[in-house]
Symmetry: C2
Subunit: 220 residues, 2 copies
Amino acid sequence: MADTSTRTVERALLLLGAVCDRGRVSLAEAARDAELSASTALRLLRTLEATGFVRKDDAGYRPGMRVVQLGAQALSHESLVSLAEDALERLVGKTGESTYLNVPSHDGHGIYLAVKEGTHSVRHTSWVGRSIPLDGSAAGQVLAGRTPGAGYVIVRNGIEPDVTAIAAPVMTGDRVTAALSVVVPSYRISESQAKTIGMLVAAEAAGILNPAPMSTGDTA
Amino acid sequence: MADTSTRTVERALLLLGAVCDRGRVSLAEAARDAELSASTALRLLRTLEATGFVRKDDAGYRPGMRVVQLGAQALSHESLVSLAEDALERLVGKTGESTYLNVPSHDGHGIYLAVKEGTHSVRHTSWVGRSIPLDGSAAGQVLAGRTPGAGYVIVRNGIEPDVTAIAAPVMTGDRVTAALSVVVPSYRISESQAKTIGMLVAAEAAGILNPAPMSTGDTA
DNA sequence: AATTAGCGTTTCAATAAGTGAAATACAGAT
DNA sequence: ATCTGTATTTCACTTATTGAAACGCTAATT
């Protein structure tokens, strides 16, 4: 078990994660986050800096261009979107309603990263990349980490009148990466139907980054 | 200065870059790309895998969720979009036309990641996140790496009739990260005007990830 | 069928490389 | 003037990384 890991690299990546999580950290904070001595953290952060994965300014360390670049590449290529599309497809199949994948964008907004339109002739419509305010939307609450114990959020007639949005978090570890949501014309859905869909969405959302158990194990 | 780096980490990040660059690599390819011995590459890739930065399937290694996650975070926070917005602003200022930042999306499409509308009352209009086919569009050619020596691409009446698109690549090293484009109603622009704008766009695009020398230095 | 070529993987001894406590310097708060 | 927290450097210790070599495997090649 121990020989599969490379401690130095693990630590560096941990540090990178800490920097990206917080957006901006001081050396001491990062070191505490990653449980490293200041000197080690400093050395590793410098390596990350030299490779463009973090940038340093007066206030501390911040995510670097390389992260953005690789992230954009990966995000584009497939990954999240393609993984989510399966889930979106299934949700449309089961509900007939329009389904969306949202990620946080800048400044209190999120964007629709993937869209799968519903099959009802009266349905909610949006487009990939549309920006929505996080405040007051179901997806927004989810992305803000304010998902109640049930695992999903229902917002009736929030930002958009006449529609009910049901969203659940796509998690990576304990971070919310994206929100999966179903948006339904309010007149068509009862409270209990909404809850049923909520559980559906939550289940699909949970499966996106934690793929269902497969036979291919990491037996090593 | 050289001792500020941590070789193991550098190598791991190099490997990560190789994986993300190609989208999917075999161990041997990655090892060659990073100029590492197979055994070292394997060990490092396993660490990256264990931390979620790469995933492994039958076909090889691919970018992992962590990359997507951190990338999305960083990308949202600011970085590419906010950096590009300066350039977009300047282009609108100089041309009066709508300007866009495009990144490759999945399956032969790209999306508008940032938009700055022109000031003319008759102007091209689109929205953030709109998906466009890469094939036949100026941005598409740029994103596909098919930018001619001039450094920009002009497409007249391509996907959308009546409009002329002028795009240039946003590079990171030798990779195309995004495309910066200006879209103009064709009737308003001559061939030579298009070329002038082309050079403008190319210059702005070049500056986005290779910021121009500024007075605000990182004096360290 | 036998052979070659390439890949993924494991092993292991050599040593290169990372480690962290301690010391230094600095800045702000008490 | 003292204290607390930070960023940084140094250095002896030794752990953890390294890469050649060997292995088993699959897919072309002869």
